[in-house]
Subunit: 186 residues, 2 copies
């Protein structure tokens, strides 16, 4: 039922916590739609994320095969993770790259920023370009995070893998295409 | 505590429904991690989505300004929405484009497929290219969906808007960059 009195579009009327966690909490809000109807809106508050386009000296990009519980299969992705402490975004980009692949890089620069799913979450992903990578050892978190394989592929090939549907993880696609544009690999 | 007996990595031990809805349900699962520890995993089951790169005769792409409740501001996005009925993905792509922009198109083709947030949802977005668009009237759902403006920008300019951070919606970025590659606008 549309409200007859005064209301403000998108105003929060009430909030119920569905799940509370430091890294990802879920809420059920009751809000006003622009026509005054009340509407239930479920959304998640997530910590920011980092995603790394890690290139070796041949300008090949590091891809990992990561098991995704929701999909019951592995997806080809860029390494990445959550900004879990106050030590900054770049700190966590370096940490995630090392933990998931065992790689360190000579040069770090910001490649872009994106919102994964603004209809359902506040997720903000910081995308970094890491150049001149070298392997320090095995990634310490590969096993626990379900990462079974890492490999380097030429940026041009990664772009083709996006175009033919072999890479479908949205922010990974964004990272690869932004890097390919920057490195003139398209 | 790691389990000492037999377990299967990523196996679902139990499931609790946090929120039930035909288009988006939320679940709290207890699962086994690869090392046997039990872990709480919250995830959403969403209906598939469509996203449309709609081009006019000058190869300019249609962008909308859509209010996002979670972000408390508008984001620049491609038109899109959920596949709510069994009438097929293309049917809903045409329906969403018309409802959100008032546009119809002469030629439809599949541009790509992506997973918005495979760590948290099963979301699958079908990206279409709609060419030769013509406005039939105002978009009937613009008001209720918080869409305040639609405009056409050259594909090359849209790519620049991605690169300089004016467009951040992940699947919108994927759609624009895939279209720019296909139409040789990069």
């Amino acid at each position: 039922m549309a409200k007859k009195g005064k209301f403000k579009a998108w105003q929060t009327i009430s909030r119920k916590v569905l799940y509370k966690h430091p890294a990802h909490s879920y809420f059920l809000d009751q809000i006003y739609l622009p026509d005054g109807r009340k509407h239930e809106y479920v959304h998640a508050k997530l910590i920011p994320g980092v995603l790394i386009v890690a290139l070796n000296s041949k300008k090949e990009v590091c891809l990992i095969s990561q098991y995704r519980y929701v999909h019951k299969r592995k997806l080809l992705e860029l390494p990445g993770g959550g900004v879990e402490t106050k030590q900054g975004v770049l700190f966590h980009a370096k940490k995630e790259l090392l933990e998931e692949t065992g790689l360190v890089a000579k040069k770090w620069s910001k490649l872009g920023l994106c919102h994964s799913m603004p209809s359902h979450t506040n997720s903000l992903i910081h995308i970094y370009l890491a150049e001149g990578t070298k392997r320090q050892g095995p990634g310490s978190d590969m096993f626990i995070e379900g990462i079974s394989r890492m490999r380097f592929v030429p940026l041009k090939k990664a772009v083709s893998m996006v175009q033919n549907g072999k890479i479908t993880h949205a922010t990974t696609v964004v990272g690869i295409l932004l890097a390919a544009l920057k490195m003139r690999a398209v």
